[in-house]
């Protein structure tokens, strides 16, 4: 874009730039300028900021820990897509799937006519190979014995009945065998020119500050590739990305924008909208149950009742999050919730009087100074740890700390660097902390990591889930039943019982359903998901992102 207002600046500053050319070692090339005629939306790129990568490197390897944006959304696709906003599952590279009676396998039927972006056909062997590679490079899938490909069917065989597998394997993005099997070190290859089945696969004008993905010439639903391409912009933080969003430079703003009504929407009410469905992970206050008094269920429930979740979500999360109920399940699992438990909820409601009564009854008496003491006579005091950079969670912790003071419990909010906080969680050397939780299509993992004994490690041994180290044998039996059950309605019955158990033992203190941030500007593209039309969330990093990419169209 040659904008006249830059011209004066250009003349004076031109000489300064020559050095950059030498230093960055760029190749001489004829500069391409985008013709920016009015109404040329049809040729425009869908522009999206990436707020946590100051620069991009040309690495499109999906095994990379910090994978480039859109690699698993628009370049590679998965067999099915679970949409948490609506609670439905969309068939994608597979048209249908069927779990075996014994729950020990699941068979997917692949879609006909799907091609890789290099024109090669997409075959069942690609799926089998992807899992072989995935297991080799990234590990996991311990339950997965073999993957067999036959015609247009792929069967995943498990070493035990394992129903949570459906979404686990169904949502892994599939790679082309003919490309990846030829690489000597697939995990170390930059995969600079990716070949995928997705709608936008062709990497173009790659720079450290931005890159473009253009249309896959062989896409299986060409009628849905209505935008010319996707342009990603690199930002070293939310502020820059928010400025770009406020300024109308980006079409999609998936990052957290404070005070969004004023800073974003009010600038162009006609075209700008946001939607924060509560489909993120449940955010919990986890109490280290290996320590007294947190091993006492009454204490956990009393502390939970002392917390004013309305205040927590209003002050800490700017009113964007939804308070938790006694099922412990986030908005992601709305269809799984046990209404009995939810409606008769006690311990996640704010009730200072009951909290006091429960603590008195449990034997943690209030002294003359209004402060409670533990059974061994020491003051009832402990720490709440949160990473220093998470300012929203930090204020959540501060609200909790004030709430607890009302029932005579003294807490200190400790906020070192996240590394130190997490190191404490991992080894069990902490009192309590604000922690995210597992968020899958099925609630199995959430319950398994919040109260399955299988995930409990002794203090001192590193663990990466169940930081609060709580296990319950009743839950174990239910979890085993759940995993072995292939029928969805029977799964729901078991999930109901799991919620009753959760309600009884209160393994941790659920706070609120994390919101999935997302805002858009429909000046150039229309067809965005909204609360009224929740065909996907507005996240750009979830499996549902591809649904948005194949629905949007340029405004005429």
């Amino acid at each position: 874009m040659t904008q006249p207002r830059f011209r004066a600046a250009r003349m004076t500053a031109a000489s300064l730039a020559i050095g950059a050319m030498l230093l960055t070692g760029c190749t001489a090339n004829v500069a391409k300028t985008n013709t920016s005629e009015a109404g040329a939306n049809a040729g425009a790129f869908l522009t999206i900021p990436r707020e946590d990568m100051g620069t991009f490197v040309q690495n499109f390897n999906p095994f990379a820990p910090t994978v480039n944006p859109m690699v698993q959304q628009s370049i590679y696709e998965s067999l099915l897509i679970f949409n948490p906003a609506k609670g439905d599952t969309v068939p994608w590279l597979a048209t249908e799937w069927k779990a075996a009676e014994d729950g020990k396998s699941v068979t997917f039927t692949l879609r006909d006519g799907v091609k890789w972006s290099d024109g090669q056909p997409f075959v069942a062997d690609d799926v089998a190979y992807t899992f072989e590679l995935q297991k080799k490079i990234k590990g996991g899938f311990e339950y997965l014995d073999t993957v067999t490909a036959e015609g247009n069917k792929v069967t995943f065989n498990f070493n035990k009945p394992w129903s949570p597998a459906l979404y686990d394997v169904g949502q892994i993005t599939i790679l082309p065998k003919h490309i990846w099997s030829a690489l000597p070190d697939p995990e170390k290859d930059a995969n600079a020119k990716p070949v995928g089945t997705g709608p936008y696969t062709e990497v173009d004008s790659f720079q450290a500050q931005s890159f473009v993905l253009k249309k896959n010439p062989n896409y299986w639903q060409p009628e849905k590739q209505k935008i010319a391409g996707i342009k990603m912009l690199a930002f070293a933080g939310n502020d820059g990305a928010n400025l770009a969003a406020a300024n109308g430079d980006v079409d999609w703003a998936p990052q957290y924008i404070p005070n969004i009504e004023k800073t974003f929407v009010s600038k162009d009410k006609e075209h700008r909208q946001y939607w924060f469905p509560a489909t993120g992970a449940m955010i919990n206050w986890q109490l280290n149950t290996t320590k007294a008094p947190f091993n006492d269920v009454d204490v956990r429930k009393a502390l939970s009742m002392a917390v004013d979740r309305e205040q927590v979500t209003k002050i800490g999360m700017s009113g964007y999050a939804k308070p938790a109920d006694c099922t412990g399940l986030s908005g992601n699992y709305e269809t799984w919730k046990n209404t009995q438990v939810k409606d008769n909820c006690t311990w996640t409601n704010h009730d200072v009087q009951k909290a006091n009564e429960l603590l008195d009854k449990a034997g943690y008496a209030k002294g003359a100074d209004g402060k409670r003491t533990l059974k061994d006579g020491k003051p009832f005091e402990f720490k709440i740890s949160v990473g220093a950079t998470s300012s929203d969670w930090l204020s959540v912790a501060n609200v909790i700390s004030q709430n607890l003071a009302e029932v005579g419990v003294t807490t200190k909010v400790e906020s070192p660097d996240w590394a130190a906080v997490v190191a404490g969680y991992e080894t069990g050397d902490f009192d309590s902390g604000i922690v995210w939780s597992a968020n899958d299509p099925s609630p199995y993992k959430y319950f398994n990591t919040s109260m399955g004994t299988g995930t409990v490690k002794p203090v001192g041994t590193k663990t990466f889930d169940n930081y609060h180290r709580f296990g319950d044998t009743t839950a174990d039996a239910l979890l085993a039943d759940f995993a072995a059950e292939a029928d969805l309605s029977k799964q729901k019955d078991i999930a109901n019982k799991l919620q009753e158990e959760y309600n009884d033992v209160a393994p941790l203190v659920p706070l609120f359903s994390g919101p999935e941030w997302g805002a858009f500007n429909d000046t150039r593209f229309t067809g965005w998901p909204t609360e009224a039309n929740p065909y996907a969330t507005l996240s750009v990093r979830s499996p549902t992102t591809v649904l948005v990419l194949t629905t949007l169209e340029p405004r005429k």
């Binding site: 620069t55 590990g139 930002f235 996240w418 590394a419």
Partner: protein, 325 residues
Amino acid sequence: MRFILRRLGFYLIAFWASITLNFLLPRFMPGDPVSRMFARSQDRMQPEQIEALRKLLGVDDRPLWAQYIDYMHNIFTGQMGVSISRFPTPVTEVISSQIGWTLLLGGTALVIAAVVGNLLGILAAWRRGGAIDSALPPVLVFIGSFPYFWLAMGALYLFGVVLGWFPIRHAFTDGLEPAFTWEFIGDVGAHLVLPALTIVLVSIGGWMLGMRNTMIATNSEDYITMAEAKGLRPGRIMLRYAARNAMLPSVTSFGMGLGFVVGGALLTEVVFAYPGVGYQLLNAVQGLDYPLMQGLFLTITAAVLLANFLVDILYVRLDPRVRSN
């Protein structure tokens, strides 16, 4: 010559000490890169994958001394390894593709601030109590004491967003191919104005005041009175007699400043989304990306030491007293 050799020896020891610290510090930080990554991914990563990832990234549990030997070996053979946060991109590639922008930004700002600041200092001291001397220092000190982040955001908002005079992000217009054309160079220049200007604004006051104060001391020296008595032109006295001698501290500062260019532009890069290594360094530290952190620290250390060594040599030329010692 002996002086230079002695300095060189000193720099080698300083270099060894700094790369050793560089090796030790990240390893004393709690946690390791993989669990760090896991925590940051907040559920986008499976716990079962951690072991595999550890192996893949070469995060090892070998004793420190074994890692140290490897580390030293790698430094002297120029192998910086593979970045963990940007795996599998080699550290050298991550740094080399971005450091040019940082050097351009930091270098431009440093040169402008030093040259203009020193000239203003010379003038202010020469016309003591004049317009420049009385008006400029308080203004510059005032601006310089603003929190940088705030100043940069303010400038960005005012000149970029509201007035629209300058582009508000990145090193050049997105979609433009880098090329040696006036159009591209001009575009880079336009994108450089705001970030460089804000750095200049906060640093220029220091240069000016430093120079002014040494100049005032120099101006009262006998040889200045002598030169005046001889009837030399004031311009010649100011620049050749007074400024030349008053320059010495500024030369030292310039050498130091040169070294800090790489790390110093961090906030600027964050505010203006400038594609340099500053934010990369912050990210590497937060993600415990040892190889990238070490690569960047090594670059900065080497730059600081090299710049100071050059300043030392320059000193020998500027100040005869150094030679006689």
